[in-house]
């Protein structure tokens, strides 16, 4: 029964990884930029949430704070793109990697300086521990279920946004052929700004929900980036549902590994499954485009 528990928890954890990964994939898809700061940009919103929630008697419920942080991160992402990253997007992939790596170091250390390296948590009271008990050994927390449902809703909404709206069509047009899109009157710089904004808006949902689910600290960005990357590659580039599948495979691999060999091996098992899939099926499971 315990292995079943590991699988179910792994699937739910996969939803969280998908929330981290969708933004990375969206940014790469629209502007061919591999954002190495993406992991740290999912940690940042949890700290913004912490500030808004406050520490005094009049604490807000972190769940209500999420929309506010989403708006802040959207604006931040748009400004970051137009103020900094647009300068490197067209210069080439290497410049993009170096600048976003630098950005990652800056964000991580700034968070350490401002909030100390200690672990913090966003408290939501009883929801933290509420769970559905199925049997003695099988209890599923409400919070992981909510996060998984959120991931499904976010991906479905993103699909609708990409398919049905003017801006979504612009994303895809810029992705397919930047020059042609520009000739058709698409303001690529604005489109990239919005794409980064949307990516960070989704990252916010993942980052804050993680902060509610468990403790977080400024050094988490590196692992987040790696898990997001693994989910994208396993699922197949350019496919949002693939990213969810990739996240689920990674989550299940980690928790089954933890169950079989002990917690110290959990993350390693995830990496090993990723490496096996990369070796045998480098295009991923649900790839739409083979570009990288």
């Amino acid at each position: 029964m315990e292995w079943l528990n590991a699988i179910i928890q792994g699937i739910l954890l996969g939803g969280l990884y998908a929330l981290f990964a969708v933004g990375l994939s969206l940014v790469f898809g629209t502007m061919r930029l591999v954002n190495l700061a993406h992991g740290d940009l999912t940690v940042l919103p949890a700290y913004i949430g912490l500030i808004i929630v406050g520490t005094g008697v009049h604490r807000f419920n972190p769940l209500y704070v999420i929309p506010i942080v989403m708006v802040i991160m959207f604006i931040f992402g748009y400004a970051l793109q137009r103020g900094l990253l647009n300068f490197v997007v067209q210069k080439g992939e290497v410049q993009g990697v170096i600048v976003t790596f630098g950005l990652s170091i800056v964000i991580m250390n700034a968070l350490q300086e401002a909030f100390t390296p200690n672990s913090q948590r966003l408290q939501v009271g009883s929801l933290n521990s509420a769970s559905i008990t199925i049997s003695d050994q099988l209890a599923i927390g409400w919070l992981p279920i909510i996060i998984f449902i959120l991931a499904v809703v976010v991906i479905a909404a993103l699909q609708l946004y990409m398919g049905r709206t003017m801006m979504g069509r612009a994303f895809r047009a810029v992705s397919d052929d930047q020059e042609a899109a520009r000739l058709m009157g698409v303001n690529t710089k604005h489109v990239w700004g919005v794409a980064m904004g949307v990516a960070l808006l989704i990252a916010t949902i993942g980052g804050v929900m993680y902060g509610i689910r468990t403790t977080f600290h400024p050094m988490l960005g590196a692992d987040r980036l790696i898990f997001a990357f693994e989910a994208v590659i396993i699922g197949g580039m350019g496919s949002s549902w693939g990213t969810l599948l990739g996240g689920v495979i990674l989550g299940v691999a980690q928790l089954l590994g933890s169950f079989a060999f002990g917690p110290a091996w959990s993350i390693l098992c995830g990496h090993v499954v990723f490496v096996i899939i990369l070796a045998l099926r480098p295009q991923g499971f649900l790839a739409k485009t083979v570009t990288a």
């Binding site: 790469f28 930029l33 591999v34 190495l36 900094l84 300068f87 490197v88 210069k91 992939e93 290497v94 410049q95 993009g96 990697v97 170096i98 600048v99 790596f101 630098g102 950005l103 990652s104 170091i105 800056v106 991580m108 250390n109 700034a110 350490q112 300086e113 590196a222 980036l225 790696i226 990357f229 693994e230 590659i233 110290a264 091996w265 993350i267 390693l268 990496h271 090993v272 990723f274 490496v275 990369l278 070796a279 480098p282 990288a292």
Partner: protein, 362 residues
């Protein structure tokens, strides 16, 4: 130095391809002098400065290798710390478990790095650009997690290398660190030398062609995969060698520091500030990095923030780095890699030759 003269063409002009000029011979002599002084430095320099220079040479070697991968093969790695860590732990394995002298262990560390680099290359070469960078990072994380789970090697808290501590007791501080120093110096000279001769060779031409346009290079018969593999293997072996030297320098191994992503942060900073795609750039970059570290690293997080911001600023506003700027102003080349086509004999020289003296590629 290497000049091949073609038979006279129909119009009586002669072509010759040359790489170096007379000035370069002068610089070569000067370089040999500097290396000779550096080689005997521990005999008169004192242990403190010897130790400092060990660290300096380690960073220099790493930066040159990272630069070889990025600047010439277009491989951007965020995972060299994986090889550094493997080198450090191979040294521990050979000296403490197998009982071989640590000075020989360095050689095995380099071999170990190359052995790990082979399957790693097969995996990460399936990815491109930025995703390749994260792919190498994953490899480094896998190696770190495996090592951290080996109880015999001290697990997460690392372990002291007994053999090295005993040797320090036996030889004394000064003699021990001068030996480590010679390995570090050898590592730096090897990294620069291998980069230089690799780039002067056929493979070097292939690499430069590949960096500039991989499709065009491939259609001219360049075996992309093999050229990239060579660079990755050389960088893996070199980083492992440096990792072993670092382990001898600190007398212990620790998974958190040997496999730390900070290595990559330093290497990116050094290469970017100095100038990517040149041999001279990392030398300048390492000097600047070292001075910055000695003066400001006590500020901790602010030091890292400054490194990150500087890397961002230089990449956006002056992507050629400091050496790129020097090159533009003075045309000073320490390590000549460009192949120049010279015209001689009667007849009018083509406009490029008349204007600049020679036509260069590379």
């Amino acid at each position: 130095m290497s000049a091949a003269t073609s038979p006279a063409t129909q119009d009586g002009r002669q072509y010759s391809v040359s790489v170096a000029s007379r000035v370069n011979l002068l610089i070569l002599g000067f370089g040999i002098l500097i290396v000779a002084i550096l080689a005997v430095f521990p005999l008169f320099g004192g242990t403190e400065w010897t130790r400092r220079l060990i660290d300096f040479f380690c960073y220099l070697a790493l930066a040159e290798l990272w630069n070889l991968m990025l600047g010439y093969a277009g491989l951007i790695s965020a995972g060299q710390q994986g090889f550094i860590g493997i080198g450090a732990y191979t040294l521990w394995l050979f000296s403490d478990i197998l009982g071989i002298s640590p000075f020989l262990g360095v050689v095995f560390a380099a071999i170990g790095g190359a052995i790990i680099a082979l399957p790693a290359a097969a995996l990460v070469f399936k990815l491109k650009g930025g995703y390749l960078a994260i792919g190498t990072w994953v490899i480094a994380e896998i190696l770190r997690l495996i090592v951290a789970n080996i109880k015999r090697a001290g697990g997460n808290s690392g372990i002291n290398i007994q053999a090295t501590s005993e040797l320090v007791q036996e030889l004394g501080n000064a003699a021990w660190y001068s030996r480590v120093y010679w390995w570090a110096l050898a590592g730096a000279i090897l990294a620069i030398g291998v980069t230089y001769f690799l780039l002067r060779s056929r493979t070097g031409l292939a690499l430069t062609a590949m960096r500039d346009n991989d499709l065009a290079a491939e259609s001219c018969g360049v075996n992309l995969w093999r050229a990239k593999l060579y660079t990755f293997l050389i960088a893996g072996a070199g980083c492992a060698l440096v990792g072993a030297v670092q382990a001898m320098y600190t007398l212990r191994v620790h998974p958190g520091s040997a496999f730390s992503i900070n290595w990559t942060a330093y290497l990116i900073f050094i290469a970017v500030i100095g100038g990517i795609g040149t041999i001279e750039g990392p030398i300048i970059g390492t000097i600047i990095f070292y001075v910055l570290r000695e003066t400001t690293s006590q500020w901790g997080t602010w030091y890292f923030i400054a490194l990150g911001l500087l890397a961002i600023i230089v990449t956006i506003w002056s992507p050629a780095g400091i050496y790129g700027w020097v090159l533009k102003k003075t045309n000073f080349v320490m390590f000549p890699l460009q192949r120049k086509l010279r015209y001689s004999g009667k007849g009018d020289a083509p406009p490029e030759a008349a204007a600049g003296g020679d036509v260069s590629t590379g």
